[in-house]
């Protein structure tokens, strides 16, 4: 799956996107966050406070229990501040 990061999540992870292949038990956004947080100190820092992270799966906002699968485009970012 393709992971995208925006704003300070991107800065903390240290990259704007990456392709990942988590193990098969990673079937939800919440499980994906747990798995990503263990990938590097930058990832751990970015996901340290999960209440401040928002997620989109295939460009729609998604909750922690939303399913994820190979081929998905999954984005993590702070609460939005446009307008």
């Amino acid at each position: 799956m393709k992971i995208l990061y925006f704003a300070w999540v991107r800065q903390k992870v240290g990259r704007a996107e990456e392709a990942v292949a988590p193990p098969p038990e990673v079937t939800t956004v919440a499980a994906l966050v747990d798995w990503l947080a263990a990938q590097s100190p930058g990832h751990a820092d970015a996901f340290a406070n999960r209440r401040t992270i928002r997620c989109a799966v295939n460009q729609d906002f998604a909750t922690p229990d939303h399913p994820v699968a190979a081929g998905d485009e999954i984005a993590f970012f702070p609460p939005v501040t446009g307008g």
């Binding site: 970012f77 609460p79 939005v80 501040t81």
Partner: protein, 150 residues
């Protein structure tokens, strides 16, 4: 069908209004909102980041909501990205309807929902070199949620 654009360039309110009105005689009111960059606390510039693809989808979905709730004859949303110094316009919302209340209410709705449902992020850059990401405001959530009970 709303016009939605995400762009670095400035927009032209008069030209966008003229486009919505062109050749029509059924418009009773057009409402617009332009959000601008303020020079609060020594701000040197805002930089707006967005999620290409999702941003346009999200704005189109918000505009479709407005068109479902109010009888609009036209709807335009243009949001800028990139680095914007104080005084620069950031976002334009423009609505037209045969009825003034529909134009005014949908315009307010669109900017409230854009603030809380479209993937943009603002980074502030100050004259003294500090930088920080703007945090989401509880008042924006409150403004957006008043449209939910309807």
């Amino acid at each position: 069908m709303a016009t939605v654009r995400v762009q670095e360039a400035a927009f032209d309110l008069a030209a966008e209004s003229a486009l919505l009105a062109a050749g029509r005689t059924d418009i009773g009111g057009m409402a617009s909102f332009v959000g601008l960059c303020r020079a609060d606390d020594g701000l040197a510039a805002l930089t707006l980041e967005h999620y290409p693809g999702m941003t346009e989808r999200a704005i189109a979905a918000i505009a479709a909501q407005a068109e479902a709730r109010w009888p609009l004859t036209g709807c335009t949303v243009i949001h800028r990205v990139g680095r914007l110094p104080p005084g620069e316009p950031i976002v334009l919302v423009l609505t037209a309807s045969s009825h003034r209340a529909a134009a005014l209410e949908s315009c307010a709705f669109l900017i409230d929902w854009l603030k809380t449902r479209a993937p943009f992020w603002k980074r502030e850059e100050f004259a003294d070199g500090r930088e920080r990401w703007v945090e989401a405001k509880a008042e924006d959530d409150a403004a957006a949620s008043r449209w939910e009970a309807r």
